[in-house]
């Protein structure tokens, strides 16, 4: 690396680092939207009436069936303007990643719910719990623990996907890196710095998720043990 490149990285570093806020903003909002929608979708698919189950299947099929970039353009150039909504690109990016994440998360949670043994629900009902209380107090705490390892894929998935928001001009890491490149004509050092920041964010996030898994671990229960 030439001294030139180092000087440029030092000069533009703060601007590039500023992209972390937007990238993380996209990722965390998308994860939150995905969770808030994905869990009810999963519950609907397991416990809901047939009509609801089919509607959810269509939703999942749609959002998992299209490339992220295609979804992003459909929403950015099509749906939002058609609805007369003039939202910042950041919001549209977070919504698209979130809705898509919800489709994936719903299937992770559905698997978790369905792998709780049926005797748990039977026992809960036999004690006089309503189905709602049983789901809330007995089924979900177990299903979420079972889901956590699978769910931890969502973070790196959405983190890497978030770079497509470059295409609609959200000033996240990749967008900023490209801007720096076009200003300075220094290419690889800048993109390497960008790549390094993605990897660092990935590592930090996975660390948090692993600690969360440990925190909620229960003896003899969960993904790393055979269930009785």
């Amino acid at each position: 690396m030439t001294m030139d490149a180092v000087a440029i990285l030092i000069e533009w570093g703060p601007y590039l680092l500023g992209g972390i806020a937007l990238t993380l903003g996209l990722v965390l909002s998308a994860l939150a939207i995905g969770f808030i929608l994905g869990l009810p979708l999963a519950l609907g698919q397991v416990y809901g009436p047939p009509v609801l189950r089919s509607l959810i299947s269509v939703y999942v099929w749609f959002f998992r069936g299209l490339p992220v970039l295609v979804l992003l353009f459909l929403f950015y150039f099509g749906l939002f303007p058609a609805l007369g909504l003039d939202f910042p690109a950041f919001v549209i990016g977070a919504v698209v990643l979130g809705l898509r994440g919800a489709a994936y998360q719903s299937q992770i949670f559905r698997g978790g719910i369905q792998s709780v043994s049926s005797g748990q629900m039977t026992a809960a009902l036999s004690l006089g719990m309503t189905p709602l209380i049983a789901i809330q107090c007995i089924i979900l705490p177990q299903a979420l623990r079972i889901s956590l390892p699978g769910w931890s894929n969502e973070y790196p998935e959405i983190l890497t996907d978030s770079a497509v928001c470059y295409a609609i001009g959200v000033a996240e890491l990749l967008t900023r890196a490209s801007q720096i490149v076009s200003q300075t004509y220094v290419t690889m050092p800048v993109y390497l710095a960008c790549a390094f920041l993605f990897i660092a964010l990935n590592y930090a996030g996975m660390y948090v998720i692993r600690r969360t898994e440990e925190h909620f671990a229960i003896p003899g229960f969960g993904a790393n043990t055979v269930q009785p």
Partner: protein, 247 residues
């Protein structure tokens, strides 16, 4: 009505597909009685218990708890289930909760008991089944016998009027079976009303107030254990008792 029944079943029918599992079962239970159901596997004994608390909906027939009909009561069934405990062959303890949390969760979430009172009550019930020292252990850390005793405590914490035992010792070896049967005997002695599906003939003989022999979804013979087990009238009962008593 001359006599008061805590539980009354009238003509319960149940089919699974075109297989008839229960074929018109009727009987009554008085407070403090221990009814033991015996009979070959697959004769509908477990289905019958599940028809009582409506975990399985009977196709026909009625179930009364304290003269209130609980069949076809819709959402209110969860209120009746609070008064009817159930103990399962596979324990079905809540795997994500410790022993004491298993026992206190229904009083807290169903009855709205405050946490402190529920914990005290749960501890008392664990003590009653000899599991107080294991309060903070998770189900996976308990032996089958211990888990079953916790599940009995979980029932007791709701102060049920009747407890249904669905083959409570079938998943246990003889030694663990004994510790669970001891707890059940103690319960029967304390006046709990119990309906027990079991293959433990010794338990039936010594604890039952009435033994009901079922086969093919029907009650073949019923009466005091001395009668049904020592001097069965029906040839099928005689054959069954003869077979099972010899091991």
């Amino acid at each position: 009505m001359t006599e008061k029944f805590i539980l009354r079943l009238e003509d319960i029918h149940k089919n699974f597909g075109d297989r008839e599992v229960l074929h018109g079962i009727s009987f009554t239970v008085k407070k403090g009685e221990t009814i033991v159901f015996i009979g070959p596997s697959g004769t509908g004994k477990s289905t019958l218990l599940r028809c009582i608390n409506q975990l399985t909906t009977p196709d026909r027939g009625r179930v009364f708890l304290d003269d209130e009909e609980i069949t076809g009561c819709g959402q209110r069934i969860s209120q009746y289930r609070q008064r009817i405990g159930m103990v399962f062959q596979n324990f079905n303890l809540f795997d994500h909760l410790t022993a004491i949390e298993n026992v206190e969760i229904a009083p807290i979430k169903v009855r709205g008991m405050d946490r402190k009172a529920a914990r005290a009550k749960a501890m008392e019930e664990l003590r009653r089944v000899g599991m107080a020292d294991w309060a903070d252990h998770y189900p996976a850390e308990l032996s089958g016998g211990q888990a079953q005793r916790v599940s009995i405590a979980r029932c007791l914490a709701m102060d049920p009027e009747v407890i249904l035992f669905d083959e409570p010792t079938s998943a246990l070896d003889p030694e663990l079976t004994r510790e669970v049967l001891e707890v059940m005997k103690e319960l029967a002695r304390s006046g709990m009303t119990m309906l027990v599906v079991t293959h433990e003939m010794g338990f039936a003989r010594s604890v039952a107030t009435e033994v009901i022999f079922m086969e093919g979804g029907s009650i073949i013979e019923q009466g005091p254990p001395a009668e049904v087990m020592n001097n069965p009238k029906h040839p099928r009962t005689r054959e069954f008792i003869g077979k099972i008593d010899h091991h």
